[in-house]
């Protein structure tokens, strides 16, 4: 290192004696943030709305900190500080719609929820009889269960084939690739497919819940395959080899060793897949129809699900209570499924060590 041996230049001793360039104090971002919050609060007091006040506060932070930094630390650090602010801001922006949406659904949906809302169907037996969404809750459960019954066995067995049998052969590679592509099929296309297939087979005007289940399973299978594949890959080969060493045939090894080890992750993946399709609307509009009556027969007649109910009632006035209440029930079901998936994943995951 020759540069260290050279004597420091005395002409500019202030710069040269310090090895570190000037820095803002450690708390600088915090201080500027405090000022920004104060400015935002002031705007709020002056009568601006919440959204403009927050925007002005954010702008103050994003301008003040880089300018301060520019005057002391130089251009490169100033850019870095600005980008740090901007990048965190993207997360805040993404959070805003989620919070707003959940708040709207809760605020408008909770007043609608009561015991008759959940236990009566939309069909009025007499003029003053209460109506509810019971028929749609039942419909949602039946159609989603149908989709799960179709797609879970197919999805899991496909993943078993891809990971345990078809290793690296070209057929397995093609299937893996096409399953990935299938995750992007628009839901309305799945609905049109089910509609085209069932009307060709059973005549025009055919509507039934099973058609909806078929459409949904087309959307669900890729998710199940992907989740199961990931989990089977995580099963260590030692377990398989130990099983073979005991003389166990391959299919017994898979059913008794590999699948039980991965079952936690698989159940999590399946639950998440269910929570994705339970809110689907577009395919069911086309093939499952809509009704106000509770229909428990998946093989004939229209069946309404919660999303379809929300969609169908949104245009007519006087239905605000029903649609927001139904939205709240739907979002609670989806969030519960997500929660259950996480808990099951934790509880059932194989013990380490």
């Amino acid at each position: 290192m020759t540069s260290l041996d050279q004597p420091t230049r005395t002409s500019s001793d202030r710069v040269a004696t310090s090895m570190v360039s000037a820095r803002l104090p450690q708390r600088a971002p915090l201080m500027v943030a405090g000022i920004a919050v104060a400015v935002g609060a002031l705007c709020l007091l002056l009568g601006l709305g919440l959204v403009p006040a927050v925007l002005i506060g954010a702008l103050v932070y994003l301008v003040a900190l880089p300018v301060w930094s520019l005057s002391i630390e130089g251009r490169r650090t100033a850019t870095d500080r600005m980008m740090t602010g901007l990048i965190w801001a993207t997360f805040a922006i993404a959070l805003a719609p989620l919070i707003s949406l959940v708040w709207q659904v809760i605020a408008r949906g909770v007043p609608a929820i009561n015991s008759t809302f959940l236990t009566y169907s939309g069909f009025k037996t007499s003029l003053d009889a209460p109506t509810g969404v019971y028929h749609a809750i039942i419909g949602t459960l039946i159609i989603t269960a149908g989709a799960a019954i179709i797609s879970v066995p197919i999805g899991i067995m496909t993943a078993v084939y891809l990971i345990e049998y078809g290793k690296k052969n070209s057929f397995a590679r093609t299937v893996t690739f096409l399953v990935d592509v299938m995750t992007g099929i628009p839901s309305i296309v799945a609905g049109l497919f089910a509609f085209a297939m069932f009307t060709l087979l059973f005549g025009p005007g055919y509507k039934s819940a099973i058609g909806g289940s078929v459409a949904l399973s087309l959307l669900m299978v890729p998710t199940v395959v992907r989740a199961t594949e990931e989990m089977l890959r995580l099963v260590p080969d030692d377990l398989r080899e130990a099983s073979y060493a005991l003389g166990t045939p391959k299919w017994r090894t898979i059913t008794k060793v590999v699948l039980p080890t991965a079952i936690g992750g698989i159940i999590t993946g399946v639950t998440l897949a269910i929570s994705r399709v339970i809110g689907e609307t577009a395919p069911l509009l086309l093939i499952a129809g809509a009704t106000d009556i509770t229909n428990t027969n998946p093989f004939s007649g229209d069946m309404t699900t919660l999303p379809v109910l929300i969609f169908g009632k949104r245009t007519s006035a006087g239905n605000e209570d029903i649609i927001w209440g139904a939205a709240l029930v739907l979002i609670v079901i989806v969030m519960l499924l997500n929660l259950v998936a996480r808990v099951l994943g934790k509880v059932l995951s194989p013990k380490q060590g």
Partner: protein
């Protein structure tokens, strides 16, 4: 793609041969399941073609109930609506998604990164019908002042010509679509950013680069093709999303580039959901034909995106 399995099959030959044919049955079932998936994919194409074939050659008046004189005239304005909504969604979602992916992989401390990722995944869990409800009833009126500001300051640009007082325009649909495709773009970008070799980053930091310079020099070049495919997957979602567009946009019959007017043509998917209950003859066939167009379009986009991802994974696997 990390794999804990060796390339060699661990199972000895007898393990798949003996055992009273149990393994043959099991393997056969597994193989059949994989075939069922391929058949289903082929089935989508076959049944849409069978049923939609008549949709291409209907009498003129069937198409005139929609948007034009022929199938091309019918589907082009819809394609326009589809593409405009998707492009608006991408313009909004891509910078946000890249920023969030950077937060998760580069900025957030480890204890915060996974909650951040979970919150973004929650966005994907919200059903599309609820996005539509929220977008149409709550968001659309709130955006009117923004549109009005654009109209007042940049009104000379034809894009910002008219402002619908309800706010139910193709732009609002684009905004809602942006929120809906944010999670998928974030998820894929996050994965490729996390794969940036540690040594590249540390080398840049050791040279005195700031964090942002490190990201520009190491993370972005490494993740570029991954981000491209993430954007294409987001595009595929945005092209095919139905409910958010139907429930937010107040549809018109003529294609315009007025982003804020409430009279733009809906997207293909939205058009199906709007018109499926019309009982006039021929309509359903035409709708299925447009569905075939949408299917082919999204299939090509997704195929290309997945191809890029797969190629990249092969590159890293070596």
């Amino acid at each position: 793609m990390t794999t804990t399995k060796s390339d060699l099959d661990a199972a000895p030959a007898w393990a798949t041969r003996k055992a009273g044919g149990g393994d043959a049955v099991f393997k056969g079932t597994a193989f059949a399941s994989a075939c069922v998936i391929l058949l289903a994919l082929a089935g989508v194409f076959v049944f849409l073609s069978l049923k939609g074939a008549q949709g291409f050659t209907q009498p003129t008046e069937v198409y005139q109930r929609g948007y034009g004189d022929s199938f091309i005239g019918y589907v082009l304005p819809l394609l326009g609506g589809t593409v405009i909504a998707a492009v608006i969604a991408l313009i909004i979602a891509v910078p946000l998604a890249i920023g969030i992916a950077l937060v998760i992989t580069q900025y957030a401390p480890p204890w915060l990164a996974s909650p951040v990722a979970y919150v973004i995944d929650l966005l994907a869990a919200v059903p599309s019908v609820i996005y539509g409800l929220w977008g149409g009833l709550f968001l659309a009126p709130k955006l009117v002042p923004v549109y009005q500001w654009f109209h007042d300051t940049l009104g000379f640009i034809p894009l910002f010509g008219k402002v619908a007082t309800s706010g139910r325009s193709i732009s609002t649909a684009g905004v809602v679509l942006a929120i809906m495709i944010l999670p998928i773009i974030t998820a894929i970008s996050r994965e490729v950013f996390a794969r940036t070799p540690r040594l590249h980053r540390e080398a840049a930091l050791a040279l005195g680069a700031t964090r942002w310079e490190t990201i520009r020099m190491t993370v972005f070049p490494y993740g570029r093709s991954g981000v491209v495919s993430a954007v294409m997957l987001g595009l595929g979602r945005a092209l095919g999303e139905t409910l958010a567009v139907v429930m937010v946009l107040s549809p018109g019959t003529i294609f315009t580039i007025d982003l804020f007017s409430g009279s733009n043509t809906p997207s293909i998917a939205a058009n199906v959901a709007l018109k499926y209950s019309e009982r006039s003859p021929g309509t359903l066939e035409v709708l299925i034909a447009t569905g075939l167009v949408l299917f082919v379009m999204t299939f090509v986009v997704n195929f290309a995106a997945r191809y890029i991802v797969a190629r990249q994974e092969r590159k890293f696997a070596v």
